[in-house]
């Protein structure tokens, strides 16, 4: 199997994948927008959203995006220890975000306000859940990358894999901006 001369094709291909993922999220956003009033006697956004809680979630995810950037910078300098530390921090922050989100979801489900309660809640859990699923996949990828770098060190190949991961992770943070604004933000405005 021949090696790529450089990684530009792989990187561009991954970028295109992220763009298709954006369209997927857009379709879930569209459904959520359409289902705004389909509360079927159940709660609307304003009844279930805690904006302060969501702000903390958002800042955690944003910080993880920052540490992800630092991971890449360290990797480009060949600093294995620093990049692994930054990567681990990114992972821990991601797990914290996930923990908060799962807490929010389980609280809603236990209150009888789960995804089966109404069309609106289905679309809420669908959209935010899709994002959460992407985060889980990202964390799994991160763990694999960590082992890979420990084993093989910062080669051109592993450094590029880190770059692709960071694109993915930044993308998820960007999607979250829209969830924070259009789901939670709009949800609590009267």
């Amino acid at each position: 199997m021949s090696e790529l001369k450089d990684n530009s094709t792989a990187n561009f291909g991954f970028w295109i994948y992220l763009m298709t993922d954006a369209v997927l999220f857009a379709s879930f956003f569209a459904v959520y927008a359409v289902m705004q009033n389909n509360t079927y006697g159940g709660p609307a956004g304003i009844d279930i959203f805690d904006l302060k809680f969501v702000l903390i979630e958002s800042l955690i995810l944003l910080t993880s995006s920052y540490t992800c950037g630092l991971t890449i910078l360290a990797a480009k300098k060949g600093n294995k220890k620093l990049s692994l530390t930054a990567l681990a921090t990114t992972g821990l922050l991601g797990l914290s975000f996930l923990g908060m989100e799962l807490y929010e979801f389980s609280h809603l489900v236990n209150n009888g306000e789960g995804w089966t309660r109404s069309g609106y809640l289905t679309s809420f859990f669908g959209l935010v859940g899709l994002h959460g699923l992407h985060i889980i996949v990202g964390i799994l990828w991160l763990v694999v990358l960590k082992f890979l770098i420990i084993k093989r060190g910062l080669t051109e190949s592993t450094t590029n894999k880190l770059a692709l991961f960071s694109m993915y992770w930044h993308f998820l943070d960007i999607i979250w901006i829209f969830i924070f604004t259009f789901v939670y933000g709009m949800g609590v405005i009267k």
């Binding site: 763009m19 009033n37 944003l62 995006s65 910078l73 604004t181």
Partner: protein
């Protein structure tokens, strides 16, 4: 990577991070402090979200540092067009469907005929 370049990059990431935090906080404060209401508020937070999108694209995703030909930028613009059509189109069509099938809340007190006569200005000659 030269030391100077890496310092510049660290600064770039840090500035992007700070801007994003500020934009998020600003959005949060606008909502919770109820500075505006209704459409003004919705428009403001939408604007802030778009600003943060731009910030993250430039500072984190380096969308502006691509050399020509700018394929990534082109693909991104195409995606934005697709997303806008998909989301706005769905909202428009479903709103229209709701209206024509009389399932909107405000018609509960009137008959559909009365509502359409009132809303569309239909009248007998």
């Amino acid at each position: 990577m030269s030391k100077k370049n890496s310092e510049l990059s660290t600064i770039k990431y840090s500035v992007g991070f700070l801007l994003s935090v500020l934009l998020t906080l600003f959005s949060y404060l606008l909502i919770t402090q109820e500075t505006f209401s209704g459409w003004a508020l919705k428009l403001s937070i939408t604007g802030l979200a778009l600003l943060q999108l731009l910030t993250q694209l430039v500072f984190f995703m380096h969308i502006n540092t691509e050399l020509k030909p700018r394929w990534k930028l082109l693909v991104f613009i195409y995606t934005v067009i697709t997303v806008v059509v998909l989301v706005l189109g769905s909202i428009w069509i479903m709103y229209n469907l709701d209206y024509n099938h009389g399932h909107q809340d405000h018609i509960e007190d009137q008959s559909i005929d009365e509502y359409i006569i009132h809303d569309e200005g239909a009248h007998y000659e």
